[in-house]
């Protein structure tokens, strides 16, 4: 039947060759037609916490969490199902599941756990039909007592200097070329700004509570009101535009060192400067202590450079030290302590102004480096940092106990409340420990 119909159709209507050509042309060209490449945004949403990330809080504290909802395409956000899930820190939230209706934010209260340093709250976003869209996290840390808690965030991750005034109850630090003052909690820091505080580098304090800051431009700035205001001192090296090494001795003299410059000191709080003799600068920068007799003791950063001066720094006499000594400390009883590299790290003691030395303690650190801030005292206890090894504890500097072994430590500070703040070698992490026991 079909054949017959086709046959009749051809017989009655006929097929012209031109029709065949036109049909062929259509068949040829139509398949080449197609839309141009394009992209259409069908839907787009963003979700972000109004709260700051990495907030520092006490264990058990709560945060009023606000999650903002953005519809990047439509003026009114679509409805979502949002589930808050505490995935780290064992805390809790007041509202776990929230169904939004045209709202641009949701809130919940996040109570932090008590036994964890790190806390993480995750907001999981779903469409009302259950299709997962995305998630975003809010993080917080709680610093505990009697534990070392690591913090790797600004501003304190890269502390380069710290001073603590226990009388005034003030602690200031220099980090990332800025000065910060300790806030209401020992782990909170507030930026200190002043026109004279340009590119701070190191910070020291004298016995009267005057704070000195040296800058990357070679200036010396001081504050006599616990960091509220700052004044520039006379520039130790007027022609030097670069950084200096600054040290405040136990007699409140300010010592300044600079390679290829003579070492100078100021006895009047940085108003005038006096050059020391005997080419002391060839020994590098270091520590200076004045004994009750008026004798000055100096040990530079270079090896074996213990010197004494009995004429207020005009001339210096070398004192032989055991091994490759690098660090000098003099306690209140005028006992001299020398750290050298025997067996890795060894502390020696002299009670006769360096005539003889006695070995006290040795340990083997992971690495050797400059010894910047080794001897720290809080009340009657010394905390001695051994870079690459950890922290020693001693009540008399005669007997030592290992307080904390951490091969990554590089520096140690103590705030005005006795909180230990140890700095990691990575220049990114500090460890807080507040002792209450």
């Amino acid at each position: 039947m079909l054949i017959l119909k086709i046959k009749n159709k051809i017989a009655t209507k006929g097929i012209k060759r031109s029709q065949i050509l036109i049909m062929a042309a259509i068949l040829f060209f139509v398949p080449f037609c197609g839309p141009d490449p394009s992209i259409e945004l069908l839907e787009s949403y963003s979700f972000s916490f109004e709260n700051d990330q990495d907030q520092r809080l006490n264990p058990g504290e709560s945060i009023n969490v606000v999650l903002r909802i953005f519809d990047n395409k439509e003026p009114v956000p679509a409805p979502f199902k949002i589930i808050f899930d505490v995935i780290e820190g064992r805390g809790s939230v007041s509202r776990e599941t929230i169904l939004t209706v045209n709202s641009d934010s949701v809130t919940t209260t996040w109570t932090l756990g008590t036994n964890s340093l790190d806390h993480r709250l995750r907001a999981l976003v779903y469409k009302p039909n259950g299709d997962y869209l995305t998630s975003t996290d809010l993080t917080a840390i709680t610093l505990r007592e009697n534990a070392w808690d690591a913090v790797s965030t600004d501003p304190d991750g890269n502390i380069t200097g710290m001073v603590a005034d226990t009388v005034a109850g003030v602690t200031l630090m220099v980090t990332n070329s800025k000065v910060y003052k300790q806030g209401s909690k020992y782990y909170l820091w507030e930026r200190v700004t002043d026109p004279n505080l340009e590119s701070p580098r190191t910070i020291e304090i004298d016995s009267k509570g005057t704070i000195y800051v040296s800058t990357w431009k070679g200036d010396l700035v001081k504050s006599t009101n616990h960091g509220v205001s700052w004044q520039k001192c006379t520039k130790p090296y007027p022609d030097n535009p670069y950084y200096i090494y600054m040290y405040v001795a136990n007699d409140d003299y300010i010592w300044v060192f600079k390679f290829e410059y003579p070492t100078v000191f100021s006895s009047d709080g940085g108003s005038t400067w006096q050059t020391v003799g005997s080419n002391l600068s060839s020994n590098g920068f270091g520590d200076v202590f004045r004994l009750k007799s008026g004798t000055l003791l100096f040990h530079g950063s270079n090896c074996c450079s213990l010197n004494r001066s009995d004429d207020n720094g005009l001339t210096w006499t070398h004192i032989v030290t055991p091994g490759y000594s690098h660090k000098l400390y003099v306690n209140d009883r005028e006992e001299i302590f020398i750290c050298n590299q025997d067996g890795g790290f060894t502390i020696f003691k002299s009670t006769d102004i360096g005539a003889t030395f006695r070995r006290l303690f040795s340990c083997y650190p992971q690495f050797g480096t400059t010894m910047d801030n080794i001897f720290n005292k809080w009340k009657d206890t010394y905390y001695i940092l051994v870079p690459g090894y950890g922290i020693l504890k001693s009540d008399d500097l005669e007997h030592y106990e290992i307080y904390w072994v951490n091969n990554e430590l590089n520096n140690l500070f103590i705030d005005h409340n006795g909180v230990l703040i140890a700095k990691d070698w990575n220049n990114n992490t500090v460890y807080y420990r507040k002792n209450s026991l």
Binding site: I20, L21, F28, G34, P37, I39, Y45
Partner: protein, 455 residues
């Protein structure tokens, strides 16, 4: 320019010496339109078939009624345009981080044009029907006369010369004494890279109308010599055919993921009768094969998943071939009412592209965006130049009018081996596992019109 001069001298000598020869010489003029068809693309973006002018002169020298040689001079301008979309990253509204902001996207068009003076040289095979069918194949040498463009990179200048292959098919209609009208279609594919930077080659299709003067040579009586066409050959006939291909992917790897793709199939066959029921058929046809993919995939063009698929694709991947079959045909049944045929075929790749829609999400910390992307990607560089396979067909023959017959039939084609170029398959796992990713298969429904050939 030395080659051009040599060729012009050669053409002049043919014309000058023609009175001493006894064969037919024809001269003609043609003009029309070309559609650019760049070759070699395997990246994102759509190359448009842009029109441009084409015109030329030719001389045609016939050795006999079937075989001839044609050359001439041709001027054409190829206009290329590539359309693509890009995502900008330089602008974010205030308050948005880069991970939040989903755009912007903008489209970019790359335009260029090339004007060539081309010298083709083709061998002609004629089928003495009315109209006369001419099939030609040959080479060309082209000289760049002018160009401009927006997508050339710094100092990368286009090649001054192009060489390549040219295929054409034309019909000639007698208009008057010594005058013929011609319709011609040509497919031109270059073999010199367009420049030193891109792996792309010139290409175009053109469609021209022309007139030809057949009275250049005269016999002893002073009349023009051209072929007489009076009686119908009983041994040869032509079949003009057209239809629809339903093609699919018979590759060994994940072939269940693909579905049918439909495309045109049209061309012509020459049937040489061998006996009462047996005949030999050959010819050329344009065939579109390929497959559809509607699934999750990391690729627009094929099923590929590593971990979670990034896209949901709804695309058609198509490859256009110029197919040349070599078939044995049997007319069976009452008065040869039914036919079956089988034989090998060779496919010459003309184009390849992937078109369709792709959906995908981008998700970052606290952000989610969903996009719909329309793609039209040139895949020619990803497909092998040739495909070989086997064809089996059959149908019914319906006599129509007095001298014509209509064929209605189906044929099944199966390609041998991988269609993708191995170097294109990015993960090479198909190569290592020896599994093919893409093999051609198709069933075509075709309507053919048998046209008698004159002796």
């Amino acid at each position: 320019m030395k080659k051009l001069k040599t060729f012009l001298i050669f053409i002049f000598l043919i014309i000058y010496c023609s009175p001493g020869w006894s064969q037919v010489l024809t001269a003609g003029y043609y003009g029309g339109v070309n559609f650019s068809d760049i070759h070699g693309g395997s990246g994102e973006g759509k190359w448009k078939f842009k029109p441009g002018p084409v015109q030329g002169l030719y001389v045609d020298y016939s050795f006999n009624r079937i075989l001839g040689f044609r050359t001439g001079i041709n001027y054409s301008t190829l206009n290329y345009e590539r359309v693509n979309i890009y995502q900008g990253s330089e602008y974010y509204p205030f308050g948005y981080s880069s991970s939040f902001w989903p755009g912007p996207y903008y489209s970019g068009n790359e335009l260029s044009d090339f004007s060539f003076l081309t010298i083709p040289a083709q061998i002609r095979l004629s089928v003495p029907s009315v109209p006369r069918l001419d099939l030609m194949a040959g080479i060309y040498d082209a000289f760049l006369i002018d160009h401009s463009g927006s997508y050339y990179h710094g100092a990368d200048q286009p090649s001054k010369e192009d060489f390549g292959y040219i295929y054409s098919m034309g019909l000639s209609f007698p208009l008057a004494d010594k005058l013929e009208a011609t319709i011609n279609a040509r497919y031109i594919t270059g073999r010199n890279r367009m420049d030193n930077y891109d792996y792309t080659w010139h290409g175009s299709m053109d469609f021209t109308f022309g007139v030809a003067w057949t009275g250049i040579l005269k016999d002893k009586n002073g009349t023009a010599r051209y072929q007489d066409q009076d009686s119908v050959s009983e041994k040869i006939y032509l079949i003009y055919k057209g239809g629809v291909n339903a093609s699919w992917n018979s590759g060994e790897k994940d072939n269940e993921k693909y579905s049918l793709n439909f495309g045109p199939s049209f061309g012509l066959l020459v049937n040489f009768r061998l006996s009462r029921i047996a005949s030999f058929r050959t010819g050329v046809s344009f065939d579109r094969t390929g497959y559809s993919l509607k699934d999750s995939s990391d690729s627009f063009h094929r099923y590929l998943i590593t971990d979670d698929a990034y896209y949901y694709v709804d695309t058609k991947t198509s490859v256009d071939y110029l197919t040349i079959p070599l078939l044995i045909n049997f007319q069976i049944g009452d008065q040869g009412r039914f036919y079956i045929n089988t034989g090998p075929y060779a496919g010459i790749k003309l184009n390849a592209r992937c078109k369709g829609t792709v959906f995908y999400n981008t998700e970052g910390q606290g952000s989610y965006s969903r996009y719909k992307r329309t793609i039209n990607d040139d895949l020619e560089g990803a497909i092998k130049d040739n495909d070989f396979g086997w064809l089996i067909g059959g149908g019914i023959s319906i006599p129509a009018f007095k001298r014509f017959t209509v064929d209605l039939g189906l044929h099944y084609c199966r390609g041998f081996g991988e269609v993708f170029d191995r170097s294109y398959l990015p993960e090479y796992d198909a190569y290592l596992s020896r599994e093919t990713v893409f093999e051609n298969s198709s069933v075509s429904f075709q309507i053919g019109l048998r046209v008698p050939v004159l002796r």
